[in-house]
């Protein structure tokens, strides 16, 4: 993969969307699955106390954003360079998609935090290699608590949502 302008974004800063890494103070060199070595701000690392099903013991992630792959974001594991997910804001293709954030706050012991502190992303599956077959897992969203810098993969049961929702509806 050639030269890439890598934008390290943080959901924790408003305004410029995180921007490029300006301060070197907290800089951390990180090997990534798809972008080689990048420099990240370690204050932007997100911890998942319960990890993700299928990947026990791997609980630290960072969001990487590239201009040319927006609106897709990379959810890169900090503990294992070989592990990364592609995530997206579900409302970009399912404006009606809703997660019960009140329940998430309760279940995650995030009782002090507000729903406005939470960001919801869904994991994208592009294993078929063609855009028309890209699906998103709507029953296992990743909810990020921006004030605690924690995240959890919620599991939404008893909902009409699919774990293999096509991102691009054929028209």
């Amino acid at each position: 993969m050639g030269f890439l302008v890598l934008r390290i974004t943080s959901p924790f800063e408003k305004g410029d969307g995180g921007g490029f890494l300006k301060e070197r103070k907290n800089a951390l060199k990180l090997e990534t699955r798809d972008f080689g070595q990048v420099e990240i701000d370690e204050t932007r690392v997100i911890t998942m106390p319960a990890g993700m099903p299928g990947f026990p013991g791997l609980g630290r992630f960072i969001i990487l954003e590239r201009e040319e792959t927006r609106p897709f974001l990379w959810y890169q594991c900090v503990d294992d360079p070989g592990l990364a997910f592609v995530i997206i804001n579900p409302n970009l293709f399912r404006p009606d998609y809703l997660v019960d954030l009140g329940a998430a706050l309760r279940d995650m012991s995030w009782r002090d935090d507000k729903e406005e502190d939470l960001l919801v992303y869904v994991i994208v599956n592009a294993s078929e290699g063609v855009p028309e077959k890209i699906t998103a897992n709507l029953i296992g969203p990743i909810v990020i608590n921006t004030s605690k810098k924690e995240a959890a993969q919620l599991v939404i049961t008893g909902s009409p949502y699919s774990h293999k929702q096509l991102v691009f509806q054929s028209s």
């Binding site: 099903p53 792959t69 990364a84 012991s109 592009a126 855009p131 897992n137 296992g140």
Partner: protein
């Protein structure tokens, strides 16, 4: 596998923080109540497996589809609804 016998309203502790209580029994169905801290994921096994398997499939690095997918998104943005 540890096998324990419990009556309705009796509990099992797992570690210090996880409590499983038998709420009721109806024929072949057992209703359980589970108290666990937020960092312990409690799921029906088949749901857990579905999420786990989809996570594993999604983590397989196949980024070839994204360049065109980004284009599709841009087209949709310019298409009047």
């Amino acid at each position: 596998m540890l096998v324990l016998t419990r009556k309705v309203d009796e509990c099992i502790n797992i570690g210090d923080d996880v409590v499983i209580k038998v709420i009721g029994i109806d024929g072949m169905q057992v209703k359980l109540g589970i108290d666990a801290p937020g960092n312990v994921r409690v799921l029906r096994r088949e749901v857990y497996e579905k999420i786990r398997d989809e996570n594993i499939r999604s983590a397989k690095g196949n980024t070839s589809a994204f360049a065109k997918a980004v284009e599709l998104f841009k087209e949709q943005e310019h298409t009047p609804k």
